[in-house]
């Protein structure tokens, strides 16, 4: 593997800033790595090779810019994010030929910071899934074991960064879609607080849950990307008008683990979790305690209702959001239909895959007259109780830790035909989206039995990504670095 592509984002950025590496060389190295790994992992839906090289040459001609913290750094974004002039399919046939005329705010901020968009990453169709098997185009393979899934829905983003195709990726997280691929692929994944990052230009799934965040190989790399994409945007009324701190400074300034109170929710540490996952996560917590942290027993008593609550809310919002795909302004259109209603129906039925159709139908049902109160309103009430669980727990602790997923990466084809079983994969990740809080998945080692990466999840307090990153940075320093992914060795 090229020495260049295995660098951390921070090291690469520094090498570019001093002129030790040119932007063109960085892009060429990543394109070489893409060519070497893509036939095995299928992480990408499109590669913008020409545009990336052209942009790199432009940057090189102008010279390094100290005010651009990602100057010359190649990155990859999930195909749910609009990037001007690049196909944006959302992993769906219905958007097969869609080329947006604008950048998502998060993408624009990456570009403004000097980053180079190299490719668009595979995903479950419209971000609906936990394995990336629901993509209409290809099944992404886990770099650690090519017969297993990378997690989802940002599976392409997780696999690409784990395979060193680039230095960081953007994913989106509606119920765990950044953290689960990070856990399965052995990288760092950060879901910011709801409202921290503008959702403008992200194709919406569950609008009260969706949030954009980075996947990277180190905590500092994730912090650097978050510093670039965070902050208020007048184009997204839910983006909070509060200053976004310098997260890199927070890593240096905050103390990390000394005196940190880590809440361990009893609902996350027992029944149903694979023993190797519990062991790896517990080892990391024990190391934190040795470094000066304390452990607090906490409870999130409504956890058992989180999946039902989440899927009602998410599917209701999805059925509403996906009504825009009507074959009129963009996307697939059936050409045989003679009248409008028939055109809508045939275009949507041909364009959407099975899982998307299932979720639209359930969402339509729970919003329909006579069922709204029993499902959607009820779920919104339980949602408040779930958030209150977190607020109560934070009265006695600073962060909350538990496994990201009860199992390691599962085999391709192993769960995909059982929708409910697939939904249960999200048991430990979805509560955070319902509560709107920030969280991360941090790799804490390989499972003793499976040899696959294990993710420890760290939940933070609302808009305190700085403290969350500092805690993760402290834990990362105590955890041995993972070797090269076994499936690519």
């Amino acid at each position: 593997m090229s020495d260049l592509t295995t660098k951390t984002l921070i090291d690469m950025r520094d090498a570019l800033a001093t002129g030790a590496v040119t932007a063109e060389a960085a892009v060429q190295a990543c394109l070489g790595r893409v060519a070497a790994t893509e036939p095995r992992i299928d992480a990408l839906l499109s590669v913008q090779a020409e545009a990336a090289l052209a942009r790199a040459r432009e940057l090189d001609a102008a010279g390094p810019a100290p005010d651009k913290p990602l100057w010359g750094v190649p990155v990859i974004v999930k195909d749910v994010l609009c990037a001007k002039g690049a196909p944006t399919t959302c992993g769906s046939r219905i958007l097969e030929n869609f080329v947006p005329p604008f950048d998502a705010t998060a993408v624009a901020r990456l570009k403004d910071a000097g980053a180079i968009i190299l490719a668009k990453a595979n995903m479950d169709e419209f971000a609906m899934g936990s394995s990336t098997e629901n993509s209409a185009y290809k099944v992404t393979k886990n770099p650690w074991d090519l017969s297993r899934v990378p997690g989802g829905s940002s599976g392409g983003s997780g696999a690409a960064v784990a395979a060193c195709q680039c230095f960081a990726t953007l994913g989106t997280d509606t119920g765990g879609s950044i953290r689960l691929p990070a856990a399965f692929c052995g990288c760092v994944g950060l879901k910011p607080s709801y409202g921290r990052v503008s959702r403008f230009g992200m194709v919406a799934y569950g609008s009260s849950l969706d949030q954009i965040g980075p996947l990277a190989r180190t905590v500092a790399d994730a912090a650097q990307v978050l510093s670039v994409i965070a902050g208020h945007d007048p184009r997204d009324s839910t983006s909070v008008d509060a200053p976004a701190p310098d997260y890199m400074a927070a890593l240096k300034g905050l103390s990390g683990l000394k005196g940190l109170r880590i809440g361990l929710p009893r609902e996350y540490w027992g029944e149903g979790v694979e023993p190797e996952i519990l062991r790896a996560c517990r080892t990391a917590i024990d190391a934190a305690v040795d470094a000066g942290a304390t452990v607090v027993d906490v409870s999130l008593p409504h956890t058992r209702y989180a999946i039902a609550t989440y899927y009602i809310v998410a599917m209701a919002e999805a059925s509403s959001n996906l009504a825009r795909f009507d074959g009129v302004r963009y996307g697939h259109r059936n050409r045989q239909a003679a009248e409008l209603l028939d055109m809508y129906k045939r275009s949507r039925t041909e364009g959407f895959g099975d899982e998307v159709q299932r979720r639209i139908i359930i969402g339509t049902y729970v919003l329909s007259s006579g069922y709204y109160d029993a499902y959607y309103k009820k779920a919104a009430q339980v949602r408040r109780l779930i958030r209150q669980d977190f607020l109560d727990a934070y009265a006695t602790c600073d962060v909350i830790c538990g496994p990201t997923c009860p199992v390691p990466a599962f085999p391709i084809g192993g769960v995909v035909d059982d929708p409910l079983k697939m939904y249960l994969m999200d048991i430990f990740t979805i509560s955070l989206n319902l509560a709107g809080l920030p969280g991360m998945s941090l790799p804490v080692g390989l499972g003793a039995d499976s040899g696959l990466p294990v993710g420890l999840q760290i939940f933070g307090q609302s808009f305190k990504e700085d403290a969350l990153l500092a805690a993760a940075h402290g834990l990362e320093a105590l955890t041995p670095a993972l070797p090269e992914p076994a499936g690519l060795a």
Partner: protein, 94 residues
């Protein structure tokens, strides 16, 4: 409750989807299973709980309603399946 293939087809119509009988028959037990799981929320007493529809509860900000020309007509029409260069064209409505 038990969801039949007819129920699924009726809801699909509301969602502007058209399922084959085979697809409706495949979905019916799957949706039934998911809805039965969702029914577990009935165990929670929420009589005194205000619904939480969004983590940002006061997002209804206003701004001046000003037209801005950010994109050309050509850019906006470029992704449309059918246009006449000025308008989106759709099949006969009435």
């Amino acid at each position: 409750m038990t969801m039949t293939a007819d129920d699924v087809a009726r809801i699909a119509h509301l969602a502007r989807l058209e399922l084959t009988p085979e697809k409706a028959a495949l979905f019916a037990p799957q949706l039934d299973q998911v809805l039965a799981y969702m029914d577990t929320l009935g165990q929670v007493d929420t009589s005194a709980v205000e619904p939480l529809y969004s983590p940002v509860e006061h997002a209804a900000l206003t701004r001046p309603d000003e037209a801005r020309r950010e994109y050309s007509r050509d850019e906006v029409l470029a992704n449309a399946p059918e246009t006449d260069g000025q308008f989106f064209i759709v099949p006969k409505i009435v």
